[in-house]
């Protein structure tokens, strides 16, 4: 079953080679007068792991929120597999997408939040099957099978009937990761997944993310402050500042040979 | 709008408008009573003499839980049997005042309870008498934040005054009833009364909202200041 699924994925890859999985073209985002993202260009290839680092206010969180449709770009185009996210192809193209289109596109993206955002009125298992059943139309039984497998993978197979309030922060975040994974997105976004955790709980979450990254298939965009972790997991590091990508490259290059002054200053501060 | 008789409306408006003063004066008198009596109840409730506390709580809960209309009838029709005959206006404002005093008492309570314990202790340490504590330290801090809530109840009471028509106080609704029963046209009188209420209460409600926002802003700043001093997470 798993082998057949993998084949499907690879075939899709073959069809779409040449087209990046995600692309931002001259994307800007302003909140009132404040321009948080400035004419930004950015691409992610299928299966690529990208870590975004940068000072607070540099726009890194906004960047991924735009992709998750939590914010709307002020200008520019974001594409998934060559198809515009916030716009619809209608003769001239610049037609703003409606909820139906967004819904269709959004299924390819998943997100893990800094504050976990588990549904407090549902058990761990229910948190993970709610979307597969209601959104993907899976049968409850199939959803439970998938969810249980995922929860086992993140090490919480024994907490199916617990409520979020009964779990530690690290456990809640791992459930959140399982909940997002169950939807099988093509790109998974992580918005500072460990920033809200007590130090001793950070490791267990990072381990889970490391494992997911090692499995390969899914592209990941991680906004994080954990530099060592980023170095480990990422294929490419992106450094943002002032709403633009200042520098990017393989971890070794970016961390050991920062070319721009701003990145150098940033790395020095993070030591 | 061919069913609306403008001539009749014009005819009836001045009478109803004049009655508005009765409505307003009843509101003010009753609410004044409510505010004062309510404060008394709130203070008494903190008494260390337990039976008094229980009495106050029992009576307040009973009054809050029963219809003001019935209390109105009680004051107007029953008290004369005990030698207290009141005019409709006085009976009405007394009954409404007492009824709302229980709500005001709750509001004062929440305001008083929100004054930090340290204030009481500091006042004791400075050897203030009990009444000094109340008037100089506690009430000045307890009252300002609750003013918007009191304001809302004032508007509430304003809208409750029509029940006074049941004991023949000639306020707006009663006037409209009289006019309407005379002409058999109720549309214009009742609509005018409704509109007059709306015209007075809606802007008042907006004003109170504004007041609340302003007071909350000050509270947030104060809270931040306090937490910086104590090193406590806000």
């Amino acid at each position: 079953m798993l082998a057949a699924k993998k084949l499907e994925f690879v075939e899709e890859l073959a069809v779409n080679t040449g087209v990046p999985l995600v692309s931002y073209k001259q994307v800007s985002k302003s909140f009132g007068d404040i321009k948080v993202i400035r004419e930004l260009d950015f691409e992610v290839s299928p299966g690529e792991k990208v870590a975004i680092i940068g000072p607070s206010g540099s726009g890194k969180t906004t960047l991924i929120r735009l992709l998750m449709t939590l914010e709307e770009p002020t200008s520019g185009v974001i594409e998934i597999n060559g198809e515009p996210l916030w716009h619809k192809e209608a003769k001239g193209k610049l037609v703003k997408a409606d909820e139906k289109h967004l819904h269709k596109m959004r299924g390819q993206i998943g997100m893990v939040f800094q504050q976990f955002n588990l549904f407090p009125h549902m058990t761990v298992l229910r948190n993970c099957i709610e979307a597969p059943v209601k959104v993907l139309g899976m049968s409850r039984k199939d959803a439970e099978v998938r969810a249980k497998a995922m929860l086992e993978k993140v090490g919480l197979g024994n907490k199916l009937d617990s409520y979020p309030a009964q779990l530690s922060g690290g456990q809640q975040q791992r459930v959140a990761i399982a909940r997002a994974l169950v939807m099988r997105p093509k790109v998974m976004l992580f918005d500072e997944p460990t920033s809200a955790l007590d130090p001793e709980l950070v490791g267990e979450v990072l381990d889970v993310i490391r494992e997911i990254a090692a499995e390969g298939e899914m592209a990941m965009i991680l906004v994080t402050h954990e530099m060592d972790f980023a170095k480990d997991v990422a294929d490419r590091i992106v450094f943002t500042d002032g709403g633009k990508i200042v520098e990017q490259g393989p971890p070794k290059e970016v961390f050991e040979n920062p070319k721009s002054e701003r990145l150098q200053a940033f790395l020095k501060r993070m030591r | 709008m061919n069913i609306w008789d403008w001539n009749y409306a014009m005819e009836v408006f001045p009478v109803i408008f004049k009655a508005m003063w009765t409505t307003l004066s009843a509101t003010i008198v009753a609410f004044g009573l409510a505010m004062i009596l309510g404060l008394g109840l709130a203070v008494l409730r903190r008494s260390s003499f337990k039976p008094l506390t229980w009495l106050v709580i029992g009576v307040s809960e009973f009054i809050r839980a029963t219809p003001p209309l019935v209390q109105l009838f009680f004051v107007f029709y029953v008290l004369p049997f005990f030698g207290i005959s009141l005019s409709p206006f006085v009976a009405g404002t007394l009954a409404l005042g007492v009824h709302y005093s229980t709500y005001c008492a709750e509001i004062y309570r929440s305001g008083i309870n929100s004054v930090p314990r340290g204030q009481w202790e500091a006042a004791t340490a400075l050897n203030f008498t009990s009444s000094q504590k109340w008037t100089k330290v506690i009430l000045p801090q307890a009252i300002p934040p609750i003013i918007p809530m009191l304001g809302n109840y004032l508007i509430s009471m304003f809208k409750d005054t029509p029940i006074l028509s049941a004991i023949t106080v000639v306020e707006m609704l009663q006037t409209a009833k009289i006019a309407g029963s005379g002409s058999f046209r109720y549309l214009e009188p009742f609509t005018i009364v409704g509109l007059l209420f709306l015209l007075l209460s809606y802007p008042s409600a907006l004003l109170i909202n504004r007041l609340e926002v302003k007071l909350n802003r000050r509270k947030v700043v104060k809270k931040e200041k306090n937490s910086k001093h104590k090193g406590v997470a806000a």
Binding site: R106, G110, K134, A180 | E61, P67, A176
Partner: protein, 219 residues
């Protein structure tokens, strides 16, 4: 005050009125909460028209007096061809009035749910309807309950107003009995107060319990 006998004698006739009072109360409660959700959600709608209508309805019925609304519905609507029984007029007026207040409770509760819940639901690609129905509403219901509890108590008190449009409720019965038994005025109104208190008591206990539940340990 005369003997307990008087009170006991009054009871049967008053209880007839109590039946009507409870009837009005229950019917009004149903429609009040129905309207509360409609208007509360309506005011949050993304469609300007729906938002506008909800807001106008809420402001009108919160900004005017219940008794005036009651009289308007009972005495004025016939001019427009709508003749309502006193019971219907009473229930409609109370539901519209208290529904407006309750709608603010609904709206406040929904708005108090942290934004992260909506965002997580969006991230899982739920439709707006699914988000509201499965994630936001269930959580907000717990928050609404204390406010609803208080509105229920207000409804009990409000029912007494229907006596003024001659609906045979508790208060009306009391006034009627009094007309022929002026000497028993004290007993009549005292019993009236007590019976209303007894009707309200279970609601008061539930309301206090709900308030206590959400403030201690909490959701």
């Amino acid at each position: 005050m005369t003997a307990i006998n008087t009170y006991v004698e009054l009871l049967p006739s008053l209880l007839n009125g109590a039946k009507v009072t409870v009837q009005v109360l229950l019917l009004s409660m149903i429609f009040t909460y129905l309207i509360a959700f409609l208007a509360g959600l309506g005011k949050l709608s993304k469609f300007k028209m729906i938002r506008g209508i909800s807001t106008i309805y809420i402001e009108i019925f919160r900004g005017t007096s219940l008794l005036v609304q009651l009289f308007w519905i009972y005495f004025v609507l016939p001019f427009f061809g709508i003749e309502l029984s006193a019971l219907a007029a009473g229930v409609i007026a109370m539901s519209l009035c208290y529904g407006a207040y309750a709608s603010e409770i609904v709206r406040g509760a929904i708005l108090s749910i942290p934004k992260g819940q909506t965002e997580a639901a969006i991230a899982l690609n739920m439709t707006p309807f699914q988000r509201m129905r499965n994630i936001i509403l269930p959580q907000s219901l717990k928050i609404m309950l204390p406010g609803f509890g208080n509105i229920s108590i207000e409804l009990v008190k409000g029912t007494s107003l229907v006596s003024l449009i001659t609906l045979g409720d508790l208060t009306y019965q009391a006034l009627t009995i009094r007309n022929t038994n002026i000497g028993q005025t004290t007993e009549i109104f005292t019993s009236l107060l007590i019976i209303y208190f007894v009707i309200a008591l279970p609601l008061i206990i539930i309301a206090r319990w709900l308030e206590h539940r959400t403030s201690v340990g909490g959701v």
